[in-house]
């Protein structure tokens, strides 16, 4: 450990003189006289719609720092020359955009500017780890509903598929409704990614996951996903970073956008009773210089595709009579609201302040087949989150600036059947061997997570080669959790802890223009104090007054390195390496704790059955990432990108058995599991030209784990097998056509291997569920009436109505029927084994 620390410090010292970029992007380039080729010192380069800009130096070079991610028009202006403008310049976080201008001498006074559409380079030579980004304009025409839909269109990111019945989940499904991010980044477990909104951490550290899924497309400016060896600024994540930039511009004229769609078109077969509305307005506040307000709101509601049924005589006949017309109750519904507001004030070119935030509400159901005929007995989930943040930017000089950020993020999770505890006593829990008759599920979670964050990020472009970034982040967390047994409402778990997390980083981005080589190097330090007391000896679990001690804080230093260098004029190669630590989600760290009345302490609950107790010492989980990639242009509009990666993860949280001093066996949650992932990603991208563009991603990967399920004990510690989410082959692509007459369409296709399942315990996850595929279509027509722009669109999800099979019965190998002759077809034909069928939505957008 000491050697590791020493090497890291040396590395830091070697690089401390260098300079780096932070969350914003930068635009660099050179301005020349078109005729003579001479530099044009003093030429002004302006990012339109912002206060950002720079003057060219004596060699014509310029650097515009601190450019928020987004799409801009950038112009070079100089007296006596025709202004030269580049349209639709896409700026991404931590990335350098190169723009070279050649200005013509103005022959006639007042000669018009020249305008040229900027083509984003297909080969990004400063790429030292895989970045995939989509802008608001690109998302607009995609057939997507949620942010997750956008993310899973990126290479290496896949949606978690629930491939087992809910009631088979941990503690009889009690943990099935807990929120996760529901995503796997390059074969990692769920919740291994960091989620940032306008640079503010919005990751729920209690449960993992985030609150941004219902975000509207109008709120977004850009969405970036880093799946590889991302830089030192980002920590607390082993597999990926999702960086969402919200709309940030101050509109000189009010901007209004409206969007609505529905699948209630009178065709039951293609409807899930889905409705969505989104509103957006951005105005400059009069009377204050450069003060802009943006407000957006999105409402989305769907019944989902799985229903429960209440037959009139079901309860009265004790689960035998299914006659009569049943009441149809949506069980996989989701209702969300997302409200966003942002006040941006840029009084001068060297100072800006932003106050923003969002409020989000999600109500959702989770289908549990056992409650098919007692659907109101299944739990309902509320996820309410909000973010309030202030960001202040001060530019010291043309090469350095600082960002100060203060934020409060909060997320509540409530999973229950009734809000009133007394209601749990009203109806007895009765059921047959297959279905519930009456009563409710044994689930009650009421939790709240809060983060108070203060951070500072400093940037200095020390030279054309070195840009330094350094930062410090302090987080005070609040974690409240109640888990109860609804039958009697007794406490299973209950705690309130206030962990503290701090981190600092320093990194240098070296851009060797002459060699074309880019080096990103950095070092990160993390300190985490869970602020909890633990038993001195867990074997004394059964003793109500066993002595306790403060858990020791954990600290770790992680190096990051990324190198990119050109191998041809149109090709570059990169290499990345990094250590990534992630302290486990706090529900694992505090697992099994309750408030002991006797001692007045939070301590492990010795009465817990079926769920484990957190170990006294929880270490961070660790992943070592290796990544090598090559990107190359094939034609001026077509390029490919091939990335190979290898990830080795250890110290994953898992469950093992232990014994108290009295000989009672219990489960312990600790750092015992491990995993390896290796894979290859191939991306083929065509820029928009000749009315179309496309992106094609193929991922070949293998994920081997020692356990797949958090609460499951390893079969054999020495054995790894394919993870439950392992899908060796994944192919997806987006094809986008847009003609000048306003017609267009986009097509999203996905084809992947099925997830594995275990037929025999001698060969864990040795069999495969059927492959999964879908095609989604969005057809649209742009219009222009009454001074507004309109678009009418028709979205068809699952165009070919392919019924995907999420999972099969391990004994029969098929869905819908197991090998047990005693089970009824109604029971074995669990609708959650299958994906949704075709749905058709019709919508309209209006904007100015």
């Amino acid at each position: 450990m000491k050697a590791k620390l020493f090497i890291s410090l040396i590395f830091l010292l070697l690089t401390v003189h260098s300079l780096f970029a932070i969350g914003e992007g930068k635009i660099v380039g050179q301005v020349l006289d078109k005729e003579s080729g001479d530099p044009l010192p003093g030429c002004n380069i302006v990012v339109e719609g912002t206060l950002l800009g720079a003057s060219a130096d004596e060699d014509g070079f310029f650097i515009i720092l601190n450019v928020p991610p987004g799409t801009y028009n950038v112009s070079a202006q100089m007296v006596g020359y025709v202004t030269d403008m580049r349209e639709n310049v896409k700026v991404l976080s931590n990335r350098t955009i190169k723009l070279n201008f050649e200005l013509s001498v103005q022959a006639i006074e007042g000669e018009a500017i020249t305008v040229e559409a900027y083509k984003n380079p297909l080969v990004q030579k400063d790429l030292t780890y895989k970045i995939q980004a989509v802008t608001a304009e690109e998302i607009e025409n995609l057939p997507v509903t949620t942010m997750t839909d956008v993310l899973v269109q990126q290479a290496g990111i896949s949606r978690n598929i629930r491939n087992m019945p809910v009631s088979s989940g941990p503690a009889f499904g009690q943990f099935s409704t807990v929120p996760t991010d529901n995503l796997h980044f390059r074969g990692g477990r769920e919740n291994e990614a960091l989620y940032l909104f306008d640079g503010v951490n919005v990751t729920d550290r209690l449960w993992g996951g985030f609150s941004l899924d219902p975000i509207g497309e109008y709120t977004l400016s850009s969405l970036e996903a880093y799946t590889g060896t991302f830089g030192a600024k980002y920590g607390g994540a082993m597999s990926g970073v999702v960086n969402i930039a919200a709309y940030d511009q101050i509109a000189k004229l009010p901007k209004i956008k409206l969007q609505a769609y529905t699948d209630n078109l009178g065709i039951k077969e293609v409807s899930q009773n889905t409705n969505s509305y989104e509103l957006f307005a951005s105005v400059a506040i009069p009377g204050v210089r450069n003060l802009g307000l943006t407000i957006a709101h999105r409402f989305y509601s769907t019944d989902g595709y799985i229903y429960g049924y209440i037959y009139p005589e079901w309860v009265n006949s004790e689960g035998r009579d299914k006659s009569g017309e049943p009441e149809k109750v949506p069980m996989q519904y989701q209702d969300t609201q997302f409200t966003f507001g942002k006040l941006v004030w840029k009084p001068s070119s060297n100072f800006s302040a932003t106050i923003g935030g969002f409020v989000t509400k999600t109500n959702q159901g989770l289908y549990d087949h056992y409650f098919k005929y007692n659907p109101y007995g299944a739990p309902r989930v509320n996820l309410d989150g909000h973010l309030l943040y202030g960001k202040f930017n001060y530019v010291f000089n043309k090469s350095s600036y600082i960002w100060i950020t203060a934020a409060q993020y909060e997320r509540g999770f409530l999973s229950r059947v009734w809000d009133n505890p007394d209601y749990y006593l009203v109806i007895p829990q009765t059921g047959t061997a297959e279905f519930s008759i009456s009563g409710e599920d044994w689930v009650y979670f009421n939790t709240n997570f809060k983060r108070l964050e203060a951070r500072a990020d400093y940037f200095n472009q020390l030279s054309k080669v070195h840009s330094l970034t350094a930062g410090f982040d302090y987080n005070k967390l609040n974690t409240d959790l109640q888990r109860r047994n609804p039958d009697g409402f007794g406490v299973l778990e209950m705690y309130h802890y206030e962990p503290v997390e701090m981190n600092g980083y320093i990194s240098d981005k070296m851009e060797f223009e002459d060699m074309g080589m880019i080096v990103n190097v950095g070092l990160r330090f993390d300190y985490i104090d869970p602020k909890r007391k633990v038993l001195k000896n867990l074997a004394e679990l059964s003793q109500p007054d066993a002595s306790m001690e403060e858990a020791k804080p954990v600290m770790f230093i992680t190096p990051r390195l990324g190198i990119s260098f050109p191998i041809m004029e149109t090709a570059a190669m990169w290499f990345g390496y990094g250590h990534y630590y992630q302290y486990p989600d706090y529900f694992k760290v505090f697992q099994g704790t309750f408030y002991a009345q006797g001692t007045g302490q939070y301590r492990p609950n010795p009465q817990l059955e079926n769920t484990p107790i957190a170990d006294t010492k929880i270490e961070p989980e660790e992943t070592v990432n290796y990544e090598v990639g090559i990107q190359s242009k094939i034609t001026p509009e077509l390029a490919f990108n091939v990335t190979g990666f290898y990830r080795k993860t250890s110290n994953l949280i898992g469950v093992l058995l232990s014994e108290t001093n009295e000989g009672k066996r219990f489960q312990v949650m600790g750092n015992i599991d491990y995993a390896t992932v290796k894979g290859l990603e191939v991306t083929l991208r065509k820029n928009f030209s000749s009315n179309f563009s496309f992106v094609l991603n193929y991922t070949l990967s293998q994920t081997l784990v020692s356990t797949s399920i958090l609460f499951e004990r390893p079969i054999d510690e020495a054995l790894t097998f394919p993870a439950n989410w392992d899908q060796p082959h994944q192919l997806n692509g987006v094809l986008n056509f847009h003609w000048n007459n306003g017609w267009g369409f986009s097509l999203y296709g996905y084809l992947a291997s099925g997830t594995p399942y275990t037929r025999t315990s001698f060969d864990p996850n040795g069999e495969r569920n059927p492959s999964i595929s879908t095609v989604d279509l969005n057809v649209f027509k742009d219009l222009n009436f009454f001074g507004f722009k309109q678009q009418i669109f028709l979205q068809v999800y699952n165009l070919f109505n392919k019924i995907n099979v999420w999972w099969v019965y391990s004994d029969s190998g098929i869905p819908g029927k197991d090998a047990n002759p005693a089970t009824s077809d109604d029971y074995t034909n669990n609708p959650s084994m299958y994906g949704p069928g075709r749905t058709i939505r019709l919508g309209i957008k209006i904007w100015n």
């Binding site: 409705n275 307005a281 309860v315 609201q337």
Partner: protein
């Protein structure tokens, strides 16, 4: 500026409208799914008698009931069929359901109420699972009839020794006893009440031989009339009482106006009278034989001068003595119960011959009584038979499952009173369905029973 404010206002308004669209996914408030328990009918519905014809049936449950489920699962019916009605919840307790008949029930009928397992509480749960056999909750009551008009009949129960009789009033209330004689008797003789209901004649089987005449209204002794030796069987009209004196082997004729014995006649051929009935239609007396070797012989006598017309032999099915003879109100038939058997014959006074014999499935006959429509025969083993007097067929049978003796029927043919000496009770049985309504305990040994023709408060 103004335009921007309008834009913001419109946006805010839209957000408020959209917020209101959020669907409510919460489960409806939980409702207790326990099945309703039936706690009972009201006391007025449980074996009650003299129940008003518009009487409502009250059912008590442990929770509020869904009235819409009652029409299909509740029945109130008598032998005449079901009766329609409406259901409502009691104003004071919503777990009480009241059924009110839409029309008056029939008088003097046993009505039985059935509450099926399919009645549901307001929580939707039925009283019993549909998977179980539906065994309804039941009760019955007896509607008021003529027996209750201007009071109730008096029921007289003679003790075994014939020394006293007991009164049952108001249907089932013991009303005390009256001494007939203090002398030792040879058992209880016949008791009959005149058709106009004004007099009750009791044969006293004394060695001296008397007949006691009481006022059925107040049990006062109107007169004691001397008759022959061993009076036992009596037949009465409004004016006359014909008394068979077994030991004297003659018949006394008593004037019930003057309370004097008008005459005493016997038979010179040695015929020994045993039982007697008078047929007003032809002014003849029908007297059965008590002479050994002539059992089953019926002598027909002119009631004007008491001369014999002729004898009809073999009027009893097995040539045994008669136990009891009852004549129909039109005088067409005499129902003859045979002594010491359970056989019965029907004697036609038109044809002067037996037209039907019935061998009943019971032990020996004990007593018979006739109304305008039916003849009732009580056997020693407790079997009670209801026989149609026109068709001469058994319509119903009731087994009281105890040794029985005398029987009486109320004037309107609504109730039978049957003495069961073994437990010193009188069983009250309604006549429509031969349903046993209840019993009255009598403090003494009992034998014969008579019912007043008139009703008394």
């Amino acid at each position: 500026m103004r335009k921007q404010i309008i834009h913001l206002f419109m946006l805010g308004l839209s957000i408020i409208l959209i917020q209101a669209c959020m669907p409510d996914r919460m489960a409806p408030e939980p409702v207790d799914i326990n099945r309703p328990k039936f706690l009972g009918f009201s006391a007025q519905d449980s074996g009650a008698i003299n129940v008003a014809l518009d009487h409502p049936v009250t059912m008590v449950f442990d929770r509020k009931m869904d009235l819409s489920t009652f029409p299909e699962n509740f029945t109130l019916e008598s032998i005449s069929g079901p009766i329609a009605g409406t259901f409502k919840l009691d104003n004071d307790a919503d777990s009480v359901v009241i059924f009110t008949p839409s029309a008056n029930m029939n008088p003097a009928e046993v009505y039985t109420a059935y509450v099926g397992g399919g009645v549901r509480a307001t929580n939707g749960m039925s009283r019993i699972s549909p998977n179980e056999a539906d065994i309804p909750e039941t009760t019955w009551f007896f509607t008021t009839g003529q027996y209750a008009q201007n009071g109730f009949p008096h029921i007289f129960v003679l003790d075994k020794n014939g020394q006293e009789f007991f009164l049952i009033e108001k249907i089932d209330s013991y009303g005390g006893k009256t001494t007939i004689t203090t002398e030792s008797t040879f058992g209880s003789g016949e008791v009959r009440i005149t058709p106009d209901g004004t007099k009750m004649v009791i044969a006293n089987r004394l060695s001296a031989g008397t007949v006691s005449i009481f006022n059925p209204q107040d049990m006062t002794l109107l007169a004691t009339v001397n008759v022959g030796v061993g009076p036992e069987q009596v037949f009465v009209t409004n004016e006359r009482a014909y008394v068979v004196n077994l030991s004297g082997r003659n018949v006394s004729v008593i004037d019930l106006n003057s309370y004097t014995e008008l005459t005493q006649f016997s038979f010179s051929d040695g015929f020994r009278p045993r039982d007697i009935v008078y047929n007003a239609a032809n002014n003849k007396l029908y007297i059965s034989s008590n002479k050994i070797g002539e059992y089953g012989t019926m002598r027909i006598v002119d009631a004007s001068d008491y001369t014999s017309y002729y004898d009809v032999k073999n009027v009893t099915p097995t040539k045994k003595k008669t136990l009891d003879m009852e004549i129909t109100s039109d005088g067409a038939y005499i129902f003859i119960a045979e002594y010491n058997t359970s056989a019965l014959s029907v004697f036609s006074t038109q044809a002067d011959s037996v037209v039907t014999t019935l061998d009943l499935d019971a032990t020996r006959n004990e007593d018979g009584i006739i109304s305008d429509t039916y003849y009732y025969l009580v056997c020693n083993d407790g079997n009670v038979f209801k026989i149609d007097i026109a068709a001469h067929t058994v319509l119903m049978q009731l087994d009281l499952e105890r040794i029985s003796a005398g029987v009486a029927v109320t004037a309107a043919d609504e109730m039978l009173y049957i003495a069961t000496p073994v437990d010193s009770t009188v069983q009250i049985v309604e006549t429509s369905t031969l349903t046993r309504l209840r019993e009255v305990k009598i403090p003494g040994t009992i034998k014969r029973v008579a019912a007043s023709v008139l009703n008394y408060q």
